[in-house]
Assembly symmetry: D2
Homo-oligomer: 354 residues x 4
Amino acid sequence: MYSFKNDYSEGAHPSILKSLMKNNLDQQNGYGDDDYSLKAKECLKEKMGNPDAAVYFVSGGTQANLLVISALLRTHEAVISAATGHIFANETGAVELTGHKVIAVEGQNGKITASDIQNAVDSHQLRPHAVKPKMVYISNSTEIGTVYNKTELWEIAAACRALDLILFMDGARLGHALTAEGNDLTLADISHLTDVFYIGGTKNGALFGEAIVFKNSSLCSEFDYVLKQRGALLAKGRVLGIQFYELFREDLYFTLAAKANGYAQQIAEAISKAGYEFLTQPATNQLFPILPKKVIARLHEKFAFYVWKEIDKRSAAVRIITSWATDQKWVDEFAEDIKNSTNPKLDRISGKGK
Amino acid sequence: MYSFKNDYSEGAHPSILKSLMKNNLDQQNGYGDDDYSLKAKECLKEKMGNPDAAVYFVSGGTQANLLVISALLRTHEAVISAATGHIFANETGAVELTGHKVIAVEGQNGKITASDIQNAVDSHQLRPHAVKPKMVYISNSTEIGTVYNKTELWEIAAACRALDLILFMDGARLGHALTAEGNDLTLADISHLTDVFYIGGTKNGALFGEAIVFKNSSLCSEFDYVLKQRGALLAKGRVLGIQFYELFREDLYFTLAAKANGYAQQIAEAISKAGYEFLTQPATNQLFPILPKKVIARLHEKFAFYVWKEIDKRSAAVRIITSWATDQKWVDEFAEDIKNSTNPKLDRISGKGK
Amino acid sequence: MYSFKNDYSEGAHPSILKSLMKNNLDQQNGYGDDDYSLKAKECLKEKMGNPDAAVYFVSGGTQANLLVISALLRTHEAVISAATGHIFANETGAVELTGHKVIAVEGQNGKITASDIQNAVDSHQLRPHAVKPKMVYISNSTEIGTVYNKTELWEIAAACRALDLILFMDGARLGHALTAEGNDLTLADISHLTDVFYIGGTKNGALFGEAIVFKNSSLCSEFDYVLKQRGALLAKGRVLGIQFYELFREDLYFTLAAKANGYAQQIAEAISKAGYEFLTQPATNQLFPILPKKVIARLHEKFAFYVWKEIDKRSAAVRIITSWATDQKWVDEFAEDIKNSTNPKLDRISGKGK
Amino acid sequence: MYSFKNDYSEGAHPSILKSLMKNNLDQQNGYGDDDYSLKAKECLKEKMGNPDAAVYFVSGGTQANLLVISALLRTHEAVISAATGHIFANETGAVELTGHKVIAVEGQNGKITASDIQNAVDSHQLRPHAVKPKMVYISNSTEIGTVYNKTELWEIAAACRALDLILFMDGARLGHALTAEGNDLTLADISHLTDVFYIGGTKNGALFGEAIVFKNSSLCSEFDYVLKQRGALLAKGRVLGIQFYELFREDLYFTLAAKANGYAQQIAEAISKAGYEFLTQPATNQLFPILPKKVIARLHEKFAFYVWKEIDKRSAAVRIITSWATDQKWVDEFAEDIKNSTNPKLDRISGKGK
């Protein structure tokens, strides 16, 4: 069985492991005051062209989300998110546990617009009986693989400024967004247009780790206390610093993401050629093709992946995810199986028995 | 400068890094359902002789503490801890943030007794105006390097049973306790006498990671939700599983702790021989010698360590910590400097100018 | 100006004030252990035919909701509510502040069905990434004046039992529901079919106060601690006890609610006769008629009430609320004005100048 | 049995009940926007000579404490309190439930000094591992009946300013403090020297209710949201407004407190004359005399009061509390019994059998 279930099935990119090994016995300060973390932060700030930015490394995405939201909002202040947003749908109420309501808006293709934001604000005016919208949370790429373009992000940022809302981008798969075909945003743009975002390492080359970036340090005063009080401050911060320095010093981060997107594109093309449709248009390393259930059953004999959503009695949308660690051999085999799946003579696509 | 500041100045034991490298591209399930985590859990349960135990791996000690306490107590239930306890003194109110009061008792040498527990319960009887004591938190080894012996732990456990209190042991440095000279407790004893404890990896060989052990799984029903909701569930749980398997499959964990204790013992002996006293008797890898401020100043030219507490105008207690990664060469040099420090003729102990 | 804005514009029913005065200097225990509270609890348990019930008096509805939900659920457990539910829409995220997500379902006419509940559970199966639905919250009467009948409530209760969900009824306006025309539920039924509910005093005769009723005391062990820790335990609990005893000893509570419903019915009939429609069919003391904006403007010269929702350019739904304290004279005048509002000759409905 | 157990055994001062009755059917806005609340706030601001103050009425003392502290502090910020402070000892961890640690300092006679504050700050410098002290909480009168004088309060306020700490005074018994013999503080002084305080109604004439006073409104921006989200916003805010207006329009509040203090003084004098000592010197309406256990037993036949603390085998300190509602007849009888208690011939002090 080969797995296309997610982009965290393997370990880290070998360069990262090598770097961990190389620096292993070097004595360093604890709690993020190590040289590697400092160097990684400088490197990131340079890449973003934003010397005022403040960077913090944490272990995972849900942790990053709850830390940022609880640090920046008072409890009666709420976050606006797409209903598909990770904080609303997939984090077990982590944000609510910090005291905040998440206001879900429908959105489209996993994305929200300036007008969604305005509507959410308009419908929460009954002070003090309604929560006060104070932050907008977006994911790029989104939970269903789509990306924001520069105009869309600019409009959202303008709405946030106008409505006194903080703009927070969940970048668990930011690399895949910024290397997507047709993307016109850069890391510098993100840093400029949002108030805070994070750069996901876990799903793009790291053993684990996300880099939270505040546009400027005045936004996150005393964030060190917040990290510690919520159990997010690693004693050996060096482990995060070394990883992020390795990912960014020569843009390995973008190389890996582009690679993941490339594998997905090959699969997407095979699917399209075979005449199947997609739930949302392929853009990054997450694909949501709609396949006949028979085909799904056959593919499941060799490949692990999630069935996402029933479409009708005979077909369903599935989720295929690739990563920097995806094996070209299996991409080829999957593509081949898809191609053969439309051949009515074949009892089974390249099955085990072959 | 060589650092004796703490036991998390270096990376991981090389065997761990090698194992991470070896298994790196093996595809695994996420969120702790990987083969390595399962294997590590089985290994631990076997070492403890407790097939009913439930084991969870998390990133750090403060995280482990807040997860266990918030999962097991209702908010009006409180934790009894020594005033020197990590949750009371050094975790930025992490437990309070989950809604619980920590009741501090004075204790002695960082340890608390059955009678301290009884007193704390007695003084919180005014229901519902006083919080309800429901858990006892102890650290072994303690924050000042001392260890509990079997009798002491047995008495505490008996008091907890009698008073319907949960007994939780913080084992950030459990290895150092269980390999201390004179220790008569085993991992199996700990698992038997406490309701829940954790085995610290960060301070004894791992890159990061602690293993929370519940005596039986009925104690921690739905702990998976708790982990996720508090941002403590790593997508690549394999990273923790691989480390703990490596630490325990051939008892590397205990070998490393014994090594750390050994370095400390060498230093302690030099200190004793030189005629200096200790704030608490040396037992594990943390030493608290009382030294003349002049000697401290000279040592500080070559060695980094914390001044713990002023004793009088001319002397202070300092904290010296060793680890598995400590360098014998520097232990020797430190011992030599201590020995020379009592020589009135020497203007400076083996200073830079030598 | 006469106000139909809400049912808490006046003080308490005079019998309550008299009783407060009569017992004023009688010395009583604090914190709810007074004779009046005990008597009121016994009286309520008798009325419900449920000697196992446990009753607690608190100050207000939002307080009752957050206390019950936080006491009965673990933080990763969520509450299913109609999108119109008070806890979802009008309590400033009070439930979220206690750590719980509220799962909103669309519902119909402010009510939810067994099938809504099943759907909500079905869509939260991805353990541990989705919150765990554990409670159903319904309001009777609802926030838009409708009521549940016995069959509906029975079906919801059956669904809750089948799905291991706690059923909680917000009875801020329970009196108005139980005295509504066509209602077939009794206080005993409510106590039997729900796990916990509260009887609203504030909106039906009391100065303030709600009576939380748990079906049996095992459900709410240590609720006294919960009350105290959340600042909800009044020193002079007698003030709540005296009020609830007065409201229930001779069924004043139901008399007052029926009176409020009667006033609303008179207004509703006038509105219907005048040919206007309603957003939801009138049932209790809250009316949502759809009126031409011109008529609204004229009515607003004499009457205070909320515009609820724009229907189209020329008309809007408004909210008219009556209570036990409503003045018949003004009900008559409102009815008369409604009647005249359809007369095209009249420049203005019975205006100030008359 | 006559009770000296506390100052909330009776209802409200009759003037308050009369005022509630008089204004009962007057229609008013809900949620604190009623005329009575507005008038009461203006009245209070005038009495304090502070037009910038912002006043909010809530139901009880624990509620007031948790609202103020959670509104003004970030969760990693802690409150310094005397170990006898109500928030530390008697509120079931209400402050901790809002996420904050309470740092207890020993203090003396229930009071803390500027130097206690400095010490607490000094011992919490290990950022970010120690919580950040950010508020000082004092009670006046204290939980053991003592009062702060102007110099003491001025010194505390100066320390707070110097250390960037918010000064919060719990005034559950502020009336008794300000009318104590020898007191040199006024309501205006309190408003000037603290950042926020509250005026307790429950223990001095009201049915219930405390008035929170912020020195200026910039301190409590969005406190309306906080009240609502924590379930502390009464629909019929008028009930609180009417009470506080009645208490302050002609200084009834101070008259009642002085009366309570007067009763206590009579008892204290009888106790002194009889040759008994006090645990803390009598100052307000709480007395802590040390009596022989035999005498306590006899007094307990007629009087209810708490035994506070065992002193030795033969004697204990008890707590005697008087209030505006105390009956002179029973004060006299208590005094008489105390006087007779020292007569060795009497088998029992004015016992039942007489």
